[in-house]
Symmetry: C2
Subunit: 209 residues, 2 copies
């Protein structure tokens, strides 16, 4: 059973972060653009497709499951205005910035969102997030031996609450529907053989800091 205090804390932040009023505003998005292109296929035919361009162009993101020296998992709660509940519990994640490799992005995003830093990053899975409308090719990591090192570094309108949970609590939060986004679910799923000790990391998928 999930710790009662953790569940109360989660509910408190979900309440704080949820949307209570929405209104349309004018203005062009600097964040999301739609691009139209024509593609000639190997079979000769030409098709037209629209796709979304994000701030880092491709929209590729890293997802980082941080595990502390004590074997706890670090999760985040944040406003998600596009969801029914208005806020979600997630695995830390963020966009790869231009010039970064996925490992650098993973290290930076983890530290910005939580102030934690791991001593070893293991790439556990790459996948397309939404291949029908964007190029985003995401990378899921485990960060081992994490420790709280610094404060969070958040943008002015970014709100992220982090907390530690046991592995059983992480699985329970999935089961209960608190963790319910594709990035977090896939990362937790593909981390399973590593967490349960069934898989040993392949050396070229790993970086030590």
């Amino acid at each position: 059973m999930i710790n009662k205090k953790i569940l109360e804390m989660i509910k408190k932040y979900l309440e704080m972060y949820k949307t209570i009023e929405t209104k349309q505003v004018e203005g062009t998005s600097e964040f999301l653009k739609v691009v139209r292109q024509e593609y000639r296929l190997g079979m000769g035919e030409t098709i037209i497709r629209d796709h979304i361009v994000k701030p880092n162009l491709t929209g590729s993101a890293v997802v980082v499951l941080p595990i502390t020296k004590e074997g706890k998992f670090v999760l985040v709660i944040q406003p998600r205005v596009l969801t029914k509940n208005g806020a979600l519990v997630e695995v830390p994640a963020g966009y790869i910035e231009p010039g970064e490799d996925p490992f650098q992005a993973a290290l930076r995003e983890l530290e910005e969102e939580t102030g934690y830093r791991g001593s070893e990053l293991v790439l556990i899975k790459d996948y397309y997030q939404d291949q029908g409308c964007m190029q985003a090719f995401n990378h899921a990591f485990i960060a081992w031996d994490c420790e709280k090192r610094t404060d969070q570094h958040l943008d002015f309108d970014e709100h992220i609450q982090y907390f530690e949970a046991t592995y059983e609590e992480v699985l329970e939060l999935v089961e209960m529907g608190y963790i319910i986004d594709a990035n977090s679910l896939l990362t937790i799923e593909f981390a399973k053989p590593y967490v349960t000790g069934k898989t040993h990391e392949i050396s070229n998928n790993k970086k030590i800091f």
Copy 2:
């Protein structure tokens, strides 16, 4: 080991469907729009966020893992111009149309893309596909006892090749990186306890046809 003929067939279609030339074209997208809204949060603060609106507004999709009476799995190959290889092997999927419930959409999409129809649809998982920039709340299904009933019903510029594979071959295609998108991977992962007989379906998540 995966059947050689299946692998050759997959490679042939990936080659046919891949992009060999790309060019920018003019025109406004009817398919993807960006909307800007202001949100007041429970904690009092107001934030502005942009999001993507798809043809069915939310962009919610269904993903359907079809299993035949003989225990084979039906997969699709299609052009995916936004990916590195230009084409992917996937679990059948598509957008929920206005007025449809997820079960209706699953039945329709499966039939359109493959011509197969199942006698029982089981909803195995709901999840947000990309909660930072769209509302899409997807639904993953297993369609049991599928049979080939009709021809495919494809749009004029849609190309989809379907094929049957064993469960071991499906897992191998994941392992080999041929199946590499979030929707297909999540559906195959969450189907595992059902396919291996460890989970019995909950009756209100199931519809029989």
